[in-house]
Symmetry: C2
Subunit: 341 residues, 2 copies
DNA sequence: AGTTGAAATGTAAGCGCTTGCATTTTCCAT
DNA sequence: ATGGAAAATGCAAGCGCTTACATTTCAACT
């Protein structure tokens, strides 16, 4: 155990600059309330000492952290990357820092992360989707922590949300698939338990099936975690049946990428032999061949607006109005007319 | 501005349980130093009040945060995901929390993040690669913050490192490429400025070129940020020349994925018309067709060992020994013999 | 019952900052 | 010059916890 080298404190700076700690503090927080000469003196003392304010102390005294926490289901693929990037840029603009953690799609982990972030004094929280245990909402409310949901819009969630209508978006895409003559569809869905986005997307397809007067029971569905390889495996299972589907709708682009690549492996031509669709419109969707027909989500817009709304909630301490963002279908090559065969 | 709802404090719990704050604190931190009956009473008071310790206050008093910070170049692709996952799992095992932030491959941003993390009291820091301004190392040293480098091993870096030899790994792969008869190679490298991994990988290829008695000047190199699309564009540029290379070695799998997909687009057969190699062995490498020949990096092992080493540095306050991990070539289909054409 | 040492608990001093309020300085208008 | 308001600065009280040290309790001996 070597001797500790205590970091310089406000006191050290104050002494060195020959002023009071209050003045140093003001130099840092409200520089216009300090006269230029003093400010300069303090500034050089700070530099000479290599002083950095102690975050914990500042938080204790000011009861504000200027920190926003976000808990996303995964960092392992690009689904949330772009939106989160925009979120954090907007936050940065306003002087806030973002703390991200990932729940690995596990409700229990998400809860733990929420508590950790709150204990760390996050001024506000960004959560993905509406599905979570009621006691979490109660905890947030009791603690009076502003929280906002993104990636899923619902006018009557327990929390305001900024996102899109997963169900309607997928419904629309399914209609398009039907319009192209497909009748035997299958869905490779993400795990729906505790994930309203996955569930609503699946519901969207079912809505379309019903709307066409088809039997919803006839719709084959495989639920699997959002990983390329799982998409590939699910696709293989689907296609190795006697009467395979002519179109496979995937819960997101990652799953669809897996399906696409496996199709190639199996010698299946997309979209001639089978059509594949995705959801999210991540970078990969554009680069794959055939390029993926998918639902475009306004990631950057969503992230930016979520940041603004959350900051508003934090600073005004008033509930924000949610916002319904719109998605649209991006038609590329992976979806084609049903093979008459 | 609604009225504030102050979170319950240790004091509240103590009063409710009829004990002193010290006892409550001990219940939380050293439960075996409190008799069972008291502990239970305190426990129920905690639950009744919904008490969560205030992190900032705890940090101030204990001068420990049990937090480790990690700054990675990007979260936008999977390169660091697996290693970081293992890192954080190991940390969690030992009661530490991980704070991640991304520098977007910008040295200035990295520096800012380092300062932020230090100000927030990170007990230790995980950094990627050795390339950074000397004053950053001085800052860390002055503050006596344990820090460790990963993803790049160097016995004489300013910080101990746990990683592999990027140069040797790429050298070995280049040798394999030469062995297959290739003579016209090109490299699609990541941006080397401020990125020793990218630089060393490139150096590795150059070493092999020189070792074969070829002119290093003849080696075409395109530097571009690590994004699928950039890999694709660079590949297109390389292949649209009069005498295109017969093998394109990419600085990582993301770039290689772009190259591969673009090759498909251009009607080029891989590896018959052109060979492509990657580096990192991320999930995508296995799933692409042709599957990518690449350098396997022991991500999980590296993450786990880095966590152990860093915790050791933090708790013993002694410099850790670095560790040289080994990579190996994974031969899949994207690399084949040189076309005699 | 009386001692006594260990175990359990309590007391109170900070940790490094912000900020309301008190005090001093500055700078005009007179 | 000088009174006085405004600007600049200083003083000191916390913020919610941990922990060294002091005190009390308890059980096991004589």
């Amino acid at each position: 155990m070597s001797k500790l080298k205590p970091a310089p404190t406000l006191d050290d700076v104050a002494r060195k600059a020959g002023v009071s700690t209050a003045t140093v503090s003001r130099c840092l927080n409200t520089p216009d309330r300090v006269v230029e000469a003093t400010r300069k003196r303090v500034q050089s003392a700070i530099e000479a000492l290599g002083y950095t304010p102690n975050f914990a102390a500042r938080v204790m005294a000011a009861k504000r952290t200027f920190t926003i926490g976000a808990i996303i289901p995964t960092m392992e693929n690009a689904i949330f990357a772009r939106g989160l990037q925009a979120f954090q840029e907007e936050l940065h603009q306003h002087g806030y820092t973002l703390l991200v953690s990932s729940s690995a799609y596990k409700p229990a982990t998400e809860e733990e992360q929420i508590r950790t972030l709150v204990a760390r004094g996050a001024d506000g929280l960004l959560l993905i989707g509406h599905d979570r245990a009621p006691h979490i909402y109660e905890f947030l409310q009791r603690r009076d922590i502003p929280a906002l949901v993104a990636w899923s819009f619902s006018p009557d969630g327990r929390l305001p949300s900024i996102g899109f209508d997963n169900r309607a978006a997928m419904y629309e895409l399914a209609q398009r698939v039907f319009d192209l003559g497909h009748r035997r569809l299958a869905v490779i869905s993400g795990i729906t338990h505790g994930n309203d986005r996955a569930r609503l997307r699946l519901d969207g397809v079912r809505d379309a099936v019903r709307q066409r007067g088809l039997d919803p029971q006839g719709l084959q569905v495989i639920e699997t975690p959002y990983e390329i390889e799982n998409g590939a495996d699910a696709f293989a299972r689907l296609m190795s049946q006697d009467t395979p589907p002519t179109a496979v709708m995937c819960g997101n682009d990652v799953l669809a990428a897996g399906a696409l690549l496996r199709a190639q492996d199996m010698g299946l031509k997309v979209p001639q032999d089978v059509s594949i669709t995705g959801f999210d419109d991540i970078e990969l969707a554009r680069i794959l061949r055939p390029a993926l027909t998918t639902v475009h989500v306004p990631h950057r817009e969503m992230g930016g607006k979520a940041a603004k709304a959350l900051i508003e909630m934090v600073e005004k301490r008033a509930p924000a109005a949610g916002e319904h963002l719109f998605t649209h279908i991006v038609e590329r090559q992976s979806l084609g007319p049903a093979n008459s065969a």
